[in-house]
Structures are given as C-alpha cells and as structure tokens.
C-alpha cells in the first residue's frame, strides 16, 4: 500500500508541476489568430438540441406526471403557478374590458347590484376571487424565504406547506367577509 500511495503522490505532483510550468510560459503568439471564442453552450441551447434531436427521431415522451406519486409540495408548486395564471387572465380580461367594453365601472357595479343575488353567493364569489390571490401571496412569501436560503429542510418544507394553506384560507375568508 505504501508504494502505490507514493506513486500516486508522485503523479499528482508531476501533473501539478507540469501545469505550473505551462502557465508560467507566455502564450505563444499564434500567427493569424483572429478570434478567441469561449467554449460552452448555454442551458437554453442544450435544451434546444435535446428537443430537436428527440422530435426529429419522433421519440415518444416517457410518462412523468401520470406515474410519479404526487406530494404536497409538488402540488402546491403547480398551484402557485396556476393561481398566477388565473389572476393574470382575470386582470387581462379586466383591462381589455376597460378598453373595449362600453360603459364605465360604476354602471357595471350597478348592474350586478340590480340582480339582487343572494348574499351567500356573493360571499362565495368573493372568497373564490380572493383564494388565488392570498394563496399566491403566502406561497410567494415562502418562495422568498427559500430564495434567502432559509427553510429548505424537508420537515420545514412540509410544515410551511400547511402554514401557507392555513393562512391563505384564513386571509381569503377575512377578505371575503370584509
């Protein structure tokens, strides 16, 4: 064992010294070199290559969402994105109607008031509007905590899931009853 260790050590030393020697020498002026291009592809380029190759070969996509067991953090992550999409759609529809639908906002509110909807339905609608907002906000807060490098241990991830769900429902309930 002693002899192989020293052989390895000697090789390591040799490689290091060779390396140092080369770095000490100046770069040999290569004639007619026009460009020095740094190697390396971006993540985006590598993904494109992956998809282009597999689409070209007409390979089927392996099952993923249909076979892996769903976990709560996984479900909450996609719900975070889903809530964002829902709210973006709502805000965009609102903005487009402000631009293209005739009549000001007050007249539309009056129209809804004139329908005399039951208060339970109104409460449920308000709750349904608030849930994506409060969920996205509280889960967004959790994301910011993760971005700060905290709360990344699995037990913390799990209890923060329940915390976010609880706070989101309570906040939506509070907002809807205001």
């Amino acid at each position: 064992r002693g002899s192989t260790a020293t052989v390895k050590e000697k090789m390591a030393l040799l490689i290091r010294q060779v390396g140092r020697q080369c770095l000490r020498t100046k770069v040999f002026p290569v004639l007619c070199t026009r460009h020095i291009a740094p190697m390396g592809t971006t993540a985006r380029e590598e993904m494109q290559k992956f998809w282009n190759k597999n689409n070209q070969l007409s390979r089927p996509l392996s099952p993923h969402l249909t076979i892996y067991k769903w976990s709560l953090p996984m479900a909450m992550s996609i719900c975070h994105r889903g809530a964002g999409v829902v709210m973006t759609t709502g805000v965009s529809l609102f903005a487009l109607s402000a631009l293209f639908v005739p009549g000001d906002f007050a007249s539309h509110v009056e129209l809804i008031k004139s329908l005399s909807l039951p208060p339970q339905l109104i409460f449920c609608t308000k709750f349904a509007i608030c849930v994506p907002l409060t969920y996205h906000m509280w889960n967004g807060l959790r994301h910011l905590v993760w971005d700060a490098g905290q709360g990344l241990k699995m037990p913390q991830v799990h209890w923060s899931c329940y915390f976010v769900l609880f706070m989101a429902v309570c906040a939506a309930f509070g907002m809807a009853s205001a």
Binding site: P38, S92, L96, A98, L144
Partner: protein, 157 residues
C-alpha cells in the same frame, strides 16, 4: 485544463476556415484574457469555476434578482393601497402587476414551450398581452375610478 489550452495554443488547435484564419477555441478561464497577471496558483484554483463566472453578461442573474425585488415591491403595495389609495398607488399597482405577470408568463413559456419558432411566437404573444393589460389598467386609472376605488366599489356589492 488551462495548461492543456496553453499547450494547444502552441499547436494552433481550432476551427480552420480558408487560408490562415483561425479561431482558437479556448476554455472560458483563458478566453477571459484579463487574468494573465495573476499567479498560476490563483489561476489553477479557478479552473473548474463555471463559465458563468466569466460570462460577458450577468443578465440572467440580474433578471432573477430584479424579479425578487419586484415581488417585494408588490408586497408593500397591497397595504399601501389600503392606507393611502390614490393615483400614485393605482399607477404603481398597474405597472408592478403588469410586469410581475409578464415575467411569470415568460417563465412559463420558457419551461413548457419548445422549439425556436413557437417559442418566439409565444413570447411575442405574451408581450402583446402584457402591454395591452398595462395600457388597459392605465386607461382605467385615468378615465375611470381607478383600481383602489374599483375594488372598494366591487366589495360593496
């Protein structure tokens, strides 16, 4: 390894188009060029640092940072809307919401849309949508009651 690149530069390895034009393919550590003054030991210690360290643009990491900063601003706007509703908060909310949702949609299409043509089309579509949303919200703030008042009116139903 930097040592291999130095050796290979002696042999002018690389792409060779017509005549004597050469493009020297080099690892980012060498290609960054500015590190010839450093000691070899320091250079060696950084050989395996990812190329992003020497990236020409830090735009990706700055974008990430800007996304988080905007999220913090958005968090602070909600209590502001309750405490002092008015045109300042209205227009700020319009801008911040439009930008936050635009960046969110951009992330979604980056994740799920593949292929260069459809990707570019999707990017253009969400840019148009987000710009229109921002314009609509600003128009609403200008010629109608404004976001804060509208929420108050809606909640009075």
């Amino acid at each position: 390894m930097a040592s291999l690149v130095r050796l290979s530069s002696l042999y002018a390895r690389g792409v060779k188009p017509l005549f004597l034009n050469r493009c020297l393919l080099a690892r980012p550590l060498v290609a960054s060029g500015s590190n010839n003054k450093e000691s070899p030991a320091l250079l060696l210690s950084r050989i395996h640092v990812s190329p992003n360290f020497y990236a020409v643009s830090k735009s990706a990491s700055q974008h990430w940072r800007n996304e988080r900063a905007l999220t913090v601003v958005l968090f602070s706007l909600f209590p502001a809307a309750f405490i002092c509703p008015g045109p300042v908060v209205n227009y700020s909310l319009s801008a911040v919401i439009a930008l936050h949702s635009y960046w969110g949609l951009e992330n979604i299409i980056t994740d799920y849309v593949h292929g260069s043509a459809t990707f570019k089309m999707a990017k253009a579509a969400i840019l148009a949508l987000s710009a229109t949303t921002f314009a609509g919200l600003c128009y609403f703030n200008y010629s109608d009651v404004g976001i804060c008042k509208a929420v108050a009116m809606l909640w009075s139903i």
